[in-house]
């Protein structure tokens, strides 16, 4: 498997500085400083091939700076960044051939129509001219842009312009697709469409990075999540593992038909987690690391003690809670 991955990314060329890499994206001690402000501080970050990596962080956390470096618009102050094994500073043009980005603020030629913008984009990335028109039409229809095909870019609504930005990446089908807050200004129906298309792109083989500060977007899309805070990576893992990592992360509420005995409470306390009983003694609330492990043990203990369970409710923490746990601040409270 490792050899296959290396072979996939390592395509030696006399003109490019390609080095073997196991990751679709890899940064090492990456820093970016604007004047006296550090936007990124020694960031180590990797993205596996074919996954959707969501970068979660408030405004000013360094998300956009990281993306701008990966798509070669910005040069890092120090450290290295590689996209499919190609150094973004040493061989930016080569990186740009395999990468596509949908900007946070839509960028288009003001006096061009959406189809003309997409045709230009497709031509710059060598999309087969025979298939180009078909692909553009299909993508525009998928993203509900077809009705706006005769409008100039400057007359598109914010949501339409954002969808056009996404469409550029979708027709390009790059090895690395970057979406910077892809659904800001887009209505709920449009959001779902964009999310589905992003997942489809992943299923077609692209590696995807999505930067967002929307928890729902992250939960819908992410294979893994990296939390950025003040230019540093705080944590990176799958969503279930991030939630599990919170001590007392799952909340289990159990209703018993009758008040339970002290003995059962003692035995439940011995199962781990933080257990509290209601004053009436028939409702239990436990903060546990993994509800799926704790609940079977609890039901066994209750059965042995002869306590009848009326209902069990399990709630899990949101990514907001995860962010709060790892940074000490709520995502929504950030500037």
């Amino acid at each position: 498997m490792t050899i296959a991955l290396v072979q996939h990314f390592y395509r030696p060329s006399p003109r490019t500085n390609v080095s073997p890499s196991l990751f679709a994206v890899e940064t090492l001690s990456l820093s970016k400083r604007y004047g006296k402000t550090d936007a990124l501080r020694g960031l180590n970050f990797t993205v596996n091939e074919g996954e959707i990596m969501v970068i979660l962080g408030p405004n000013g956390s360094g998300k956009t700076t990281l993306l701008m470096i990966l798509c070669t618009i910005l040069k890092p102050t120090s450290g290295t960044a590689k996209v499919v094994g190609i150094d973004v500073v040493e061989d930016g043009t080569k990186v740009r051939e395999v990468m596509g980005i949908a900007f946070q603020e839509a960028r288009g030629f003001w006096r061009h129509k959406p189809s003309s913008i997409l045709r230009f984009h497709a031509s710059m990335f060598d999309i087969d001219p025979a298939k180009r028109q078909d692909l553009i039409e299909r993508t525009m229809k998928d993203l509900e842009l077809w009705e706006s095909r005769d409008k100039l870019f400057m007359h598109l609504s914010g949501g339409q312009a954002k969808r056009l930005e996404t469409a550029k990446v979708l027709i390009q089908r790059p090895k690395l697709a970057i979406f910077d807050e892809p659904t800001s200004q887009v209505d709920l129906r449009g959001k779902r469409k964009i999310w589905d298309k992003i997942r489809e792109l992943r299923d077609q083989g692209s590696t995807i990075i999505v930067a967002t500060n929307e928890v729902r977007e992250a939960e819908y899309l992410a294979d893994r999540v990296t939390i950025l805070h003040q230019g540093q990576r705080v944590v990176c893992d799958t969503i279930p593992k991030l939630k599990d990592a919170i001590a007392g992360g799952d909340i289990v509420e159990v209703d018993f038909e009758d008040p339970v005995s002290e003995k059962l409470v003692d035995s439940l306390n011995g199962l781990g987690g933080e257990v509290s009983m209601s004053p009436e003694g028939n409702q239990l609330r436990a903060k546990v690391s993994r509800a799926e492990d704790w609940v079977p043990k609890m039901t066994s203990a209750s059965y042995v003690a002869g306590a009848k369970i009326a209902s069990i409710r399990i709630t899990e923490p949101s990514l907001d809670d995860v962010f709060l746990h790892f940074t000490g601040k709520a995502l929504a409270d950030q500037p």
């Binding site: 960028r107 003001w110 006096r111 230009f120 710059m124």
Partner: protein, 270 residues
């Protein structure tokens, strides 16, 4: 796809913008046409004096054509300013083309704008002269005009380069127009675009007269007068000077624009 074909595609897209701002085209062409037709033809009849064998109309029109070329080429600056402020430049920076290719594309697009616009003015002038003018255009003059097109193209790229520089350093759109107008006033005033060289030498200090003589706008207007309208053979020395001064402007402008793009890569803004 090669870098060259990507460069051409970007230049073509940017060039197409020139025709998409119809109001600007209308303003530009109406000013040039009114200068050419009203002032040229009316004054041509009021001023019977010939300058180096040319009527006043034949003397004036090359100047108008050169100013038209200047205006059209400086439109590149407006487009660059818009592209910088609207973030289109950032989009261009994500395309698989080198920064110098991007600079080249803009400069070429400016050159194309200049040549298309001034070429149209030249054609209108020929038509006007054929129907209304006191003297006919020599056939070889049209052939010389066609031969001059590549040189005028290089001149337009030079002016586009300067416009790119001013666009890059302008914080606001209005400021860009101030720079562009100041450049136009100074380059046209210190030139022989609208006055004979001896008039400049007579009234202005010698160094200014020398600058006016080697001003690429003067050289272009001069060669249009003598060859495209006068029918005299093209002067290789003048063409070499025109090429050298225009290329110098193009290189300086391209370098300035390249520096701005480099600043964007370093600082995230121009």
């Amino acid at each position: 796809m090669s870098h060259l074909s990507r460069l051409v595609r970007i230049a073509r897209t940017d060039f197409s913008y020139f025709f998409r701002t119809k109001w600007l085209m209308a303003v530009l062409i109406s000013l040039s046409l009114s200068d050419m037709l009203v002032v040229g033809l009316v004054y041509g009849r009021l001023i019977p004096t010939r300058f180096a064998g040319l009527t006043y109309f034949q003397f004036l029109v090359p100047g108008i054509v050169v100013v038209g070329l200047f205006s059209a080429a400086t439109d590149t600056g407006r487009r660059i300013w818009l592209a910088l402020r609207e973030g289109v430049v950032q989009y261009y920076l994500t395309l698989p083309i080198r920064t110098r290719g991007l600079v080249g594309a803009y400069i070429i697009s400016g050159g194309l704008g200049g040549i298309v616009y001034s070429g149209a003015l030249l054609a209108i002038a020929y038509v006007a002269l054929s129907f209304l003018g006191p003297t006919a255009i020599p056939v070889q003059g049209i052939a010389y005009a066609l031969l001059l097109i590549p040189f005028l193209f290089v001149l337009a790229t030079g002016i586009a380069g300067l416009a790119a520089f001013f666009a890059s350093v302008s914080r606001r759109g209005e400021i860009y127009w101030v720079y562009a107008q100041a450049l136009q006033v100074s380059m046209i005033t210190i030139s022989t675009v609208f006055y004979p060289a001896q008039t400049i030498a007579q009234y202005l200090p010698a160094p200014v007269a020398t600058i006016a003589e080697y001003n690429p706008l003067s050289l272009a207007a001069g060669v249009l007068r003598t060859s495209a309208f006068g029918g005299n053979p093209l002067d290789a020395g003048v063409l070499a000077n025109l090429l050298a001064t225009s290329l110098l402007l193009a290189v300086l402008g391209a370098l300035a624009y390249w520096t701005i793009l480099r600043n964007i890569r370093l600082n995230g803004k121009p």
